[in-house]
Assembly symmetry: C2
Homo-oligomer: 218 residues x 2
């Protein structure tokens, strides 16, 4: 479908943000928007917005700007949200449960088809219409149900062993909430990390940097 080579990571990271803002404008009934107006709202420069969008095509019209609706749809398409990648969730603890319940996978190009845990107390419980299965059944399940993506919501120590099993099954795309760097161990995989601890520490740095006395304590 697409295949845009050589798009830089900073550009890709901004796409969901464009999508979000355009969605809000759409909800408000705004029909057209110029890069200048979008710039004011989003805090990027107008130049950057035009530069970013032109990586994928000329979606605007000189003298007019961009149609909010068509740009929203274009970006959704660029992101690949019209897919239905089959995803399984590993780990039905607090975090896994929150991810399962909280996310609108269908709107983001995915479909959650299975949840696994190794804790007998959790196996059989139902989350979002899906019955939690025993991790032992992973291989059997994946043989019967082609799976594109695995979501890791397991402790750091369990991650590598499960990743090895999934890799053997040919599942090489991961959404990783585990405090562990999967990316280091294989190089033909796609990993999107959500390292909450890292995020919290960055916040800590920024607060400390803003608040602390400049070298007066010593």
């Amino acid at each position: 479908m697409h295949k845009y080579e050589n798009i830089s990571a900073p550009v890709i990271k901004r796409l969901p943000r464009y999508y979000r803002f355009l969605g809000e404008l759409l909800d408000k009934g705004v029909m057209r928007i110029s890069s200048r107006e979008l710039s004011d709202k989003m805090g990027f420069t107008a130049s950057q917005i035009r530069q970013d969008l032109n990586c994928f095509g000329g979606f605007g019209q000189q003298g007019y700007g961009y149609s909010v609706e068509s740009l929203y749809n274009e970006i959704g398409h660029i992101l690949g949200l019209d897919h239905k990648y089959k995803a399984i969730l590993i780990g039905a603890g607090n975090l896994g449960k929150a991810v399962a319940v909280h996310m609108s996978f269908e709107k983001r190009g995915f479909q959650l088809i299975g949840i696994f845990d190794n804790d007998p107390a959790k196996v059989g419980t139902v989350i979002r219409d899906i019955s939690v299965a025993d991790l032992d059944g992973l291989e059997e399940f994946c043989a019967e149900n082609p799976t594109d993506v695995a979501i890791f919501c397991v402790p750091k120590t369990a991650t590598q062993a499960i990743a090895d099993r999934l890799y053997k099954l040919g599942i090489k795309n991961y959404w990783n909430f585990s405090h562990y760097d999967l990316s280091i161990h294989y190089d033909d995989i796609i990993v999107e990390n959500v390292h909450l601890n890292d995020s919290l520490m960055i916040l800590c740095y920024r607060i400390s940097d803003a608040n602390d006395e400049p070298e007066s304590t010593k």
Copy 2:
């Protein structure tokens, strides 16, 4: 305590990762490491590692490398993890609950002192030794308990109104899980965003980009 001006965002984002890897080395009993060895493990260049660390001081020793333990401690200190910033959590739904239970706030420079929700069914339930309080009591609580940070685990639509109340109370540091851009509306605040939807969409893009047929469908 610290106050390192002009440290670029890319450097700051790498700090937690250094901290994590050094912690693992420490656990394994490794005493010293060179920028070269660390480079192999982490996937940054040795040059970048030395450059990054030298933003904050000369922690190494020529001909030897870095002491794992002292570098670990230094980075923890740079990040400000020896603080105890008082944090409150807004929203005790699935996500809020997962964040409250899952995170080791104490190890990351924070202390969770309160949880709020506006759902009567949730008020009074206990999460991590903290009884969920009614959101109406926010002002009173913060007057009695000086609070540094608010964690947003509420729906997009509720975020702005609550942010306004917190801002009035002088709370200007936010860890934001809400699908909403707080940063746009005030400019003297510190926001660290965890946009899970954005992360999921970036994964979708990357899978699509790797898998789709190159322009053959048309």
